[in-house]
Amino acid sequence: MNGYSELDRFLRTDPRDVGCTQAMEILHVYAELVAAGEPAEQRYPGIAAHLQACGPCGEDFDGLLDALRNEAD
């Protein structure tokens, strides 16, 4: 990816983005759906849009998913 497309991607905002508060409110529900292979993005498009755009919330989601997938460890 070159600089132009990276800058374009960063500046582009998705109107469906629900923001951090709402995303964090149901992150556990969303993560369980993803872990179960359910179409979480379709059910919660605003959450999906937010997790793609927000680095910290995306990182928290990755961590929660990792925890769910490795509970037995």
Binding site: R16, V18, G19
Partner: protein, 217 residues
């Protein structure tokens, strides 16, 4: 925009019900449940710290200490919020969320112990590298980034400019900025979201970028 609200659970799964019963109770049963929960939270916190470790300037005992703090604070948060658990997920998933959030908070706080840059620094020369613009092709992007900088100065409010410069120019992690400004993640993200939208509109109006055609629901 508001997504579909999670439906209230008709009833809890047996394991979650057992957790809630034990934690809401009293005496040795509650103490045992708290100890078990803490052990579980610590395991998740340590795993999460190891997962994020390579990208942080925190290692060894410091990282382990951070995991212990996160587990302890998550346990307090969970017991305080127990009445808010509505059974939309397993209890343990809900609990894991809090320990992951605490890990983020602790990492954000840790940043300021050895900050890479002061908050008020403005090293715009770093900007090309932030977005992967190649120095050898400066002739192609010089005008674009000059226009971006002009837009940052003319289009953004003082708060939006402060947040944009800290996060984008100085590469201060968003959670660390939250701590420094005494704010919260949602407010800082919204400030940056509005700044991104304004900057893109300004660049599009001046012909540097195509107009935003993001999908709308």
């Amino acid at each position: 925009m508001v997504d579909e609200a999670p439906a209230a659970a008709d009833r809890l799964d047996p394991e979650s019900a057992e957790w809630l019963g034990a934690l809401a109770g009293q005496g040795p049963q509650r103490e045992a449940a708290l100890a078990r929960l803490h052990e579980m939270l610590l395991r998740i916190a340590q795993r999460e710290c190891r997962r994020r470790g390579p990208r942080l300037r925190v290692t060894g005992p410091e990282l382990d200490d951070l995991a212990y703090q996160a587990a302890a604070d998550a346990l307090v948060a969970i017991t305080r919020k127990l009445g808010q658990f509505r059974g939309e997920s397993r209890f343990t998933t809900w609990a894991y969320k809090y320990v992951i959030l605490e890990v983020s908070d602790k990492i954000g706080r840790h940043f300021w112990r050895h900050p890479a840059v002061p908050l008020d620094a403005e090293d715009w020369d770093r900007l090309p590298d932030r977005f992967g613009f190649e120095p050898a092709r400066e002739a192609e992007w010089r005008d674009l980034l000059a226009a971006l900088r002009r837009a940052v100065d003319t289009e953004l409010s003082p708060r939006q400019r402060q947040v944009f410069v800290a996060i984008v120019v100085n590469a201060v992690p968003l959670d660390a900025l939250v701590i420094e400004l005494g704010s919260n993640r949602g407010a800082i993200y919204k400030t940056l979201f509005d700044a991104r939208r304004k900057l893109r509109a300004a660049l599009a109006a001046n012909g540097y970028m195509g107009h935003d055609t993001a999908r709308r629901s």
